[in-house]
Symmetry: D2
Subunit: 347 residues, 4 copies
């Protein structure tokens, strides 16, 4: 594989750090430019910022520097944007126009209707025309490989959205969801909140705690409903209770829905959606629900199915919010865009 | 308040330890006999077993000793049994016959039908006639104070059962639950599993993990359904997904059900069930879901209600599995039996 | 016991919260005024700020309000100051002049030499004359009860200082420390850093981490050396390596020093310093080192001693940094000042 | 690199699991045989035992099976033994005689004097002649590469021993340790205790705890002293206080010793011992002490040095007890034995 020059913008957050963890070992990628925000104080060796990346791989002289758009353009062929919401929408269009492949890990290009941004992201979109531009693809890898391969800008899905869509799309696609309604009781590790200085995220607040937040108001909710509509042409109805639990990484969405189908029909729908030979990162099992430890630090989504015999389905969808829920899927999408094997650099 | 001589049998488990924590400070109780199982090696000062109970309260010369039924009878007026399932059914009847007040924290007297024990507890009941004996009361304090006050033997409810029943009984009572059906996505601290040497409970297995277990097969399930029938004469239908999360203590049951009632009607049902002046340990709030840290080390159950406006209710019921879910409610029940203030020794 | 009207200023931090936990149950204290800082937004019921303090004790209508010095003076007879360093030095003198008993939990009155403040606290002292005022006492309860009983303002010791001084003073007093030198390898729970919005204290940063900080530069270091000089007239030499570990509360100082004394001589020195009947909160054991769980949520300091037979002593001193290391000792000191039993409200 | 057929015996413990994590991605290794103990129930796919190793790498059909020595011999060229103490001494000699390269991760071949085994391991050695056999080498990679390259059986060092020896050997070698004496205050993650069903290792016991154990009695103590003698011809004197803290993996040994050397001399000794180009896995820094998160999941040992200017050195040596402290160093040693690059398969 030829090597692609890759930049990471937002390298000091949790998803940025996870991108480094993956890309330092990617066989066809050369990290050439790492930026924090423009406010970052001064160029700093990556091994000072993240000593665990001191390495014999020859990358220890990489610097993390204040974002300089001109240097970014010059130094990279592909760019990961791992910035807070509202930042990528200002940067990405120019990068695409300049011929870069871009994977954006924020929510800035996920929703197609500009009018949704004020409600769900509390901001007006700075580049609304791009939301429906043909060069942009939603990056749920298993469901839109072809679009991703042709796209220049990937809207990498949200962590909750990935775990929920991978679990419910096969059932919606097969028309097996009664009333198109489902309930999601989701639990996330605290890295999902980002490396932010907030007292509610302190060790002392959370080490023995569980907290629900943004009930039916989380910004991944319209993303899930849009995804159901995009991939199955159905209108889903969702009850969504996100919760944080005292783990660093990992996410499990417990999904409740009713069906008239048998377990066999349900499993057949999953097998059609995720043939083992084509979807190495999705595993579906009947009768066993995954634990977080089954997926942490992998790019897999593990889905477990239980059917109570009288119409109630219980679906557990587990993934690592930093890997398949963010940076791992972002690398998977870069692989697709660049024509590399989908699994390059991923486990 | 006159002082009652109290014994704890099973003092070395988590619920036994919690009983000690509470009873050492109870204004009307004198701890006079502490036993582990009959296999416990030799009498050991409680302050050697639990150094945190070294205390200036004058109890540090208490011993924990191998269970000796004769000494138990002689030394106590009231007995807490905090033993594994299957043990209390052999001990409690004789204690009651000897005139002791008994609070059993196991499942041994919770289910009224002996036939349920093989299925849910994997044992045949050794004293089936006692399950419906008039001297026995189910100890869900807020729902059967009168029965508890008259009883000699209290079947102290399970932790999940307490958190679920306190949350759903007012709605079943008012007939507000569509199809009498509800879903419980419950998360428990690991102390709920007891102080047992099992690799699945090791720090290294659980410190960054979440695990569902006994889906629709947990022994608190028939207890909940029996409680709904006992207190509201309705037949509930329950989907139950218990999960362990990496906290020591605390439990949150997230309950999903559909209703045709408005939020006002729902709250009115709770207020009728739990008038503030009579139920100091239950608090119900609309619009805010409790966190674990709101209730840990208290005897309270905090219930939060959200209504999505189109028929879906989300109810979070939080308590400390060792306190209101076990030993605290046990003390509350002893208070009721002995005519003490219901809150004596509890916060 | 007559009841004293007590105020807590700084009620929303970890030591303030711990003061509430203790004082809500203190038999001779009535909480009459709770303030955060002057920047606190608006009066808020304590049960909204800390739902776990919803209580049947009749205190749930207490408010936490923005600090108003006039109201503070009017509403209280005794005041706990639980503020960041630099704040109490501005408030305490006027409170004392107005006849209040004051316990300050910050470092503002701990060091007697004003010149030490710029170096160790990075500030100039605003009331330097008070550092040696006769109305001020250093509040290491077990070592200066008489001074505390006469004082108007207590400089409540630091958490590390308490754990170290209680462990080494008996040996310095008896002249058993070779070269007067000792090494302290101390581990603290993260609550010691306060409820501060800093990324280094996030759950995700610390949940699987250990970090040394302020090596030989921690502000409790001159406090320890001053305490050794004050109580034993000796000049100690200390190597100090404080570390944070992923627990919420609890502190263990592992102390290494050399001695020519036998273990019997060493234990005799401790027994003279801490006779069981007079020092209910200090326990010393030979041959067993305490664990954190032995002391968490108690006001005790547990000290374990091991002697290797060739001159090396290993001393583990464990306490709860929020209780004996801060708020518990503060209550103990208030008890002493007010003539209450030293153990009132404490376990 | 040609591919070597590798077996792991003891694949279900923490060090066995870590070997799988590393070897699944090793460029020159083919895993051909995985065994638990002979008591393991039946052959089970590795992806059922460890779902996180479900993988697209083509290894998901690997089985973990009850140990069958005949199959082990037939299926492998090199063998990792990751068994409890006392087991490898029965297996390893025959494997070596049969021409296999063996890396033993237990303590069975670490101590050269058979007489030490009853005292430190509580067993009589079953193959005492092998302790000094020329085919055996102690596997502290950085200090005996040549011996390892020639050996057939590697005694892979203990985790504490690795972290301590890497830190003190350069100073002993240079003669910079006053009185040849040092103190080690070591903190280990709980995986160091192995995947053992013991109540003292439960999440509920340890999640907010710290516990010292085997003070001056840990079996890595004679290993450290032997290593000092072997590599520097000096007799060290060691005070050793191992402690467990609530993390899964990671170890930090805080070492205190006195020296007459300057910091420059000290650093020069380290630089001579660990030239960057030859020792990619050891990093030494003055003035900054490593945190656990700097090394977790890497094969590095990070050493930080502070000198107080008056003779006291503080040395923090951090590594991952499962990687550089066990399985990572084991792979490093296999690489040396087989002539692969020392860093193959390691980061």
């Amino acid at each position: 594989m030829a090597s692609t020059r890759v930049a990471v913008v937002g390298a000091t957050g949790y998803t940025g750090e996870e991108l480094l963890r993956l890309l330092l070992h990617h066989p066809a990628v050369q990290l050439t430019y790492l930026a924090a925000s423009a406010k970052w104080e001064r160029p700093t060796p990556v091994s000072d910022v993240f000593p665990r990346f001191v390495t014999h791989l020859g990358c220890s002289d990489l610097l993390i520097e204040p974002l300089d758009p001109a240097r970014l353009l010059k130094a990279s062929d592909a760019v990961f944007l791992a910035l807070p919401h509202g930042e990528a929408m200002k940067l990405a269009p120019a990068l695409v126009e300049a011929g870069k492949r871009v994977v954006d890990l924020s929510g800035d290009f996920r929703l197609r209707a500009p009018s949704l941004y004020p409600q769900w992201y509390h901001l007006d979109h700075a580049a609304p025309a791009w939301l429906t531009d043909t060069r942009v693809a939603y990056g749920l890898s298993e469901w839109c490989r072809e679009a991703i391969m042709k796209a220049k800008l990937i809207a990498n899905p949200g962590c909750y959205a990935t775990s929920i869509l991978l679990a419910v799309l096969p059932l919606f696609h097969a028309g097996l969801v009664e009333d198109n309604a489902f309930i999601v009781d989701a639990k996330s590790g605290l890295s999902g909140a980002g490396r932010k200085a907030e007292t509610s995220l302190l060790f002392s607040e959370m080490s023995q705690n569980l907290r629900a937040y943004k009930v039916n108001q989380h910004q991944h909710m319209p993303e899930v409903l849009q995804g159901i509509e995009q991939f199955t042409r159905r209108q889903g109805r969702m009850t969504f209770v996100p919760q944080v639990i005292p783990v660093h990484r990992g996410m499990l969405s417990m999904i409740y829905l009713r069906t008239r189908a048998t377990l066999e029909d349900v499993m057949a729908a999953y097998q059609r959606a995720y043939p083992a030979e084509r979807t190495p990162f999705v595993r579906v099992q009947a009768g066993r629900l995954p634990e977080l430890c089954d997926v942490v630090e992998t790019n897999r989504c593990d889905i477990g199915i239980m059917h109570d015999g009288s119409g109630q389905l219980i679906i557990a969808s587990a993934l690592d919010n930093l890997t398949k829920g963010a940076s791992g899927q972002a690398v998977q999408n870069l692989n697709l865009m660049l024509g590399y094997p989908e699994t390059a650099g991923l486990v």
